[in-house]
Amino acid sequence: HFPRHLKWQKNEITFRIINYTPDLKKADVDRAIRTALNVWADVTPLTFRKLHEGTADIMISFGSREHGDYNPFDGPNGLLAHAYPPGPGLGGDTHFDEDERWTKDSSAYNLFMVAAHELGHALGMSHSSDPGALMYPIYQYITGFPLSEDDIEGIQALYGPNPNSKKVKPRPVAPTKCDPDLSFDAVTELRGETIVFKDRYYWRLHPQMPEPDLVVIKSTWPFLPNKVDAAYENPEKDQVIMFSGVKMWALNGYTLVDGYPKYIHKLGLPKSIRKVDAAVHIKDTGKTLLFADEQYWSYDEATGTMDRKYPRSIEDDFPGMNDEFDAVAYHYGQLYFFHENLQYEYSYNARKVIRIQRSNSILSC
C-alpha cells in the first residue's frame, strides 16, 4: 500500500476515459479498461461505473512527455504509464504514455496488462517486489488471470473480499530460489547462459553475474506455454528446443524458428509418449538424449533421426539412477540429473554418480 494506506471511502467508483490512443480501436481501449477494472472487482466489493462527462474518481487519459501533471513521460519505452493513489483531484487518475505502441496482444505493450497494474495504484496498491505479482513495477506480459496471492491479499486488506465471490484462481507466488525443497522443470544452456525453468518462470544465470535473474517465461517468449517440461540447446544450430506436453518449440535466441511448434513425435518418439521429462545435448557426440518415464532415446542431430536400438532403460544405462528425472544438463563430461530437490552429478565416462547436492546449488544456494 501507499503510505497512510490511502483508499476510496466508498465502494462504487466512477471512471472516465478522457481520450483514446490511435494505436487501437476505441472499442478495444474500452474493453481493455473495463476488463482491467473487472480484475479488481472480482476480488473486492468494488463496482465501477463509467461516466461520459464531468469529473470521475478515476480519470483515464493518454498523453506524451509533459502532459499536465508535472510528471512527464519519456518517449518510447522506459516509463509506460503512471497512476495516482485514491484521493480528490488528481487522486486515482491514470495516465498512459502515448509514445508507446499499445496493443491487444504481446507484440508491443499490452494495454490490458498495463491498465490492470495502473488501476491497482488508482485503488491504493503500491508496488510489490514479488516478480509474479501484477503490482511488480517492471512490465511483463502474461496470460490468464493476472492477480497473484500477493495482489489479492493487498487489495482485500483495503476493501475486503467480494461478498458474491466468484471463484478466482490466483497465480502462484514466484518460486524462491533458496527454498530447500525447490525442484526444477527443465534446465538448458542458451548462448553461454544457463536457463532454469520452474512453473511459469525461469532463472537466467550468466557466468559473470553473481545473482540469477527471475523472469516470467511469457515476458520473453510470449508464444510459449506457461510451463516447460524439458529443454536443450544445440549450439551448432544456435537453437534451443523447448518441450511442453506433446509439442516442441525451436528458438533462435528470442525468435521462434519457422515451422514450429511441432509435435514431439516428429523426432521419432512413439505416439504413446505424451511428454518429455528431460532432454540434454551431448556436444562431444552430437547426440541428444530424450528422457520420458523410465526410458530414454538418443537423437542424432546430424542426421535428424532417432538412433536405432532405442529406447533403452535409464536404470540399465545409468547405474545408480533409477528414478525419473525433472531435468538433465551436461557440462565438461558430467551429466547433472535433477530429481525433486536433489541434483546428481554423474560421470558420463565412468558411469557412476560422483556427487549429490541440492538442486538449487545451481542457483548459488
Binding site: F2, P3, N71, F73, N77, G78, L79, L80, A81, H82, A83, Y84, P85, Y109, V114, H117, E118, H121, S126, H127, S129, P137, I138, Y139, H206, Q208, M209, P210, E211, D213, L214
Partner: protein, 79 residues
Amino acid sequence: LPLTPANGDKRLLAERYLKRFYGLPAGLQGRQRSADAFQTQLKEMQKFFKLKITGTLDDDTMQLMEQARCGVPDVGEYN
C-alpha cells in the same frame, strides 16, 4: 578522476532512476553526502528487486534500470 563517458552515462541514468523511484534527493549537496545518499538509495533499489546488494552499478542493476516499467515510485511518499 573524471568519469569515462560510458560510466558517466550509467551514473546519470542511475541517478535519474533513483530520484524518480527511490526518492534520491535532487539538488546541490556536499560531495560526500551525495555519494552516500546515492549508495543508500541504490542499495534500497537492489533490495527491493532482490538483486545482490552491492551498492554499485553492476550489470544486473543496470539491466533492470533499463527495462520498461511503471512510473510510480517503488518506495516512499507519492506526491
